[in-house]
Amino acid sequence: MTELSKSGAAVGEPVKDSPAPSAFLEVRDLKVHFPTDDGLVKSVDGLSFTLEKGKTLGIVGESGSGKSVTSLGIMGLHTTGQYGKRKAQISGEIWLDGTELLTADPDHVRKLRGREMAMIFQDPLSALHPYYTIGQQIVEAYRIHHKVDKKTARRRAVEMLDRVGIPQPDKRVDSYPHEFSGGMRQRAMIAMSLVNNPELLIADEPTTALDVTVQAQILDLIRDLQKEFGSAVIVITHDLGVVAELSDDILVMYGGRCIERGPAEKVFYEPKHPYTWGLLGSMPRLDREQTERLIPVKGSPPSLINLPTGCAFNPRCAYADVPKDNVTRTVRPELAQVGGRHWAACHMTQEQRERIWTEEIAPKL
């Protein structure tokens, strides 16, 4: 771990030496690598971002881009010990409210987990224990962090179930997960993650397993709860619609790195990376007139073991051949500021990108 962090040179934004960041959550040069028989899988390779309380960051990317690994990394849920060589190698810094989590005592992180930071998982059926009632699971989550008797904890569980909109919470608190529908299970899981009023909530694909009408309910609920509790929220999803609904800032990941980051409006209206253009063009949209054809990104996502040299997106990029000054394809582009709080990692000059976006991409969307 330490060895890696030493060699881990500044990727993305420059890593400052100042130890105590002002932001509520600051991730600096996070790397999560998994050694396998086939080689080192660099799931996350130098990711940096900040997040303030009351704000929502949306992390978008395709499967295998490192979104979930990032969230598990922040929560400290990667195995780093038991399996001998097979442990995840994590380096970088994760500052949560003035505490660095990667170097902190595991017991301390354990105390924070669930209380300061909580997570909503994608599949509620596998995230809830089938053997215990919903109530027991919420009570457990509460009593780990609060010294209260079972009765008080149960009252709290009922209160939370009521808050997330489960009808007859005093009865349903004694139901088992299989007795709930998909949407209700997701609500129960949200209740469980919010029972300790966490200040950081990570929602990993919170609505992917749900139907649209239920998804709308859950998105609404997450938004309301955030307003009410003022937590910082990270929403991880592949659905640009969900991100647009919830996020203040958006971070687009590709091949384990951030390739574009900025305020939601900027990323949607003035995207500065060809991959973001690709995502926007691939998506059929209900709010626009019918387009004749979608504009897909050619090829498939890269292997995380052998990332393409240079820009990881270059084999799929339609503009890889655009002449660039003094840069060869084998050099990896760094995140560079392209506007106020807006960064992108692309070799093309600002003018080139501006021109391609306004002339070639935007009219087709």
Binding site: D211, V212, V214, H238, G241, E245, G281, Q290
Partner: protein, 422 residues
């Protein structure tokens, strides 16, 4: 392409059917039902049934794409399996090219299988991991005893290039391919016998967005090149809009609305369709504040074991009245090319104007619907009514209709409406 030649070869052994010309009815479904029995106890007595599909009537015309949308559990996949006869219907009739295939046995179905193929949702579980893709794609030839012109291998390689894969990958195994590529293999297999109709059950939902677009475009190209007829089942309304000519919206085993794509998306008539469409998150951060346009539905879809009486949507509908609880609305063609099963449709005159008292559930549901939406709904019905009046090709009854006043729920009574009621 070698298709026509291949078609001859295929057709030679099969029951010779005249190819349906574009626009002719290829598949006709009437009163289709599938009830899965629930058995309990030592004697496995039937104690109930899951009414997965409960009376569907629709047609698929040659060369078109019918999209089927609905939430999970609405019976759309069961419908797909019924029309491909992977399941036997409990009741009703499925006719393919005029031939009744409802209760054909496995052997009798075999010749039909050349004409009706399926693309499955999960490209991981629908390909046998122990077979090379060459074997997988050539399986249809083997099963049907067909030798394509130029040999099986050559034909498989041609199919691979048609779906955008490298023909040299003939000897590779499914695990060597990514999700999108596997879905292409599934498509190549479905196309092997040059079918007339392809039923695709969630063909892109397991794929990443950028790959989704590739597969959607591929399906599009193949349709144009080969004149295929598609039935595409999906839950993603934006994908369905992109690929379909006509769209059926299902709710609890029934079709609640069946319409041309543009009519459906511009002016949905069934409240459920409207709610479903408003629920789709729009990838536009500037619309974040405009969430009031969204119609939130209460609770979950009721159980298909004991579906609600009358209109199945009445338990969650904000317009439900007494009649919705007692009488099931028939699927009627209210506008040309737009069939709806609703007593109080949106964007159109009320079908049961005498019944204005909202059910208690509807009042609760209406609380979740912002006033703007209700007002907008009234405005659009007025606009649509005016538009309808302006179009020359509409039904005479509609022409006489005055511009709707306030909400469509209090629209002026129509002479025709009670007649439609039966």
């Amino acid at each position: 392409m070698a298709n026509s030649a291949q078609r001859e070869g295929v057709a030679a052994g099969a029951t010779l059917n005249r190819d349906a010309a574009p626009g002719e009815t290829l598949l006709k479904v009437t009163g289709l039902q599938k009830h899965f029995p629930i058995r309990k106890g030592l004697l496995q007595r039937q104690v109930g049934a899951v009414r997965a599909v409960d009376g569907l009537d629709f047609e698929v015309k040659s060369g078109e794409t019918l999209g089927v949308v609905g939430e999970s559990g609405c019976g759309k996949s069961t419908m797909g399996r019924l029309i491909t006869r992977l399941l036997e219907p409990t009741a009703g009739k499925v006719e393919f090219e005029g031939k009744d295939i409802t209760h054909l046995g496995v052997g009798a179905m075999r010749p039909m299988r050349r004409d009706v193929q399926m693309i499955f949702q999960d490209p991981y579980s629908s390909l046998n991991p122990r077979h090379t893709i060459g074997t997988i794609i050539s399986a249809p030839f083997k099963l049907q005893g067909v030798t394509p012109e130029g040999g099986v291998k050559k034909e498989v390689q041609r199919l691979l290039s048609v779906v955008g894969l490298n023909p040299e990958h003939y000897n590779r195994y499914p695990h060597e391919f990514s999700g999108g590529q596997r879905q292409r293999i599934g498509i190549a297999r479905a196309l092997a016998l040059n079918p007339k109709m392809v039923v695709a059950d969630e063909p892109v939902s397991a794929l990443d967005v950028s790959i989704q677009a590739q597969v959607v475009n591929l399906l599009d190209d193949l349709q144009q090149e080969l004149g295929l007829t598609y039935v595409i089942i999906a839950h993603d309304l934006s994908v369905v809009r992109h690929v379909s000519d006509r769209i059926a919206v299902m709710y609890l085993g029934k079709i609640v609305e069946l319409a041309d794509r543009d009519s459906l998306y511009k002016a949905p008539m069934h409240p459920y369709t409207k709610a479903l469409m408003s629920a789709v998150p729009i990838p536009d951060p500037r619309r974040k504040s405009a969430k009031s346009e969204r119609i939130l539905l209460q609770g979950d879809v009721p159980s298909p074991i004991s579906p609600p009486s009358g209109c199945r949507f009445h338990t969650r509908c904000w317009k439900a009245t007494e009649i919705c609880k007692t009488t099931e609305p028939p699927l009627l063609e209210l506008k040309p090319g737009q069939q709806v099963a609703c007593h109080h449709p949106e964007n159109f005159e009320d079908q049961a104007p005498q019944d204005t008292v909202l059910l208690t559930v509807a009042k609760q549901a209406a609380e979740l619907v912002a006033d703007e939406v209700l007002a907008e709904s009234a405005a659009t019905s007025a606009a649509v009514a005016a538009e309808v009046t302006a179009t020359p090709a509409e039904k005479p009854a509609v022409t006489e209709k005055p511009v709707v006043t306030e909400t469509s729920a209090v629209a002026a009574p129509e002479d025709e409406a009670p007649a439609k009621e039966k």
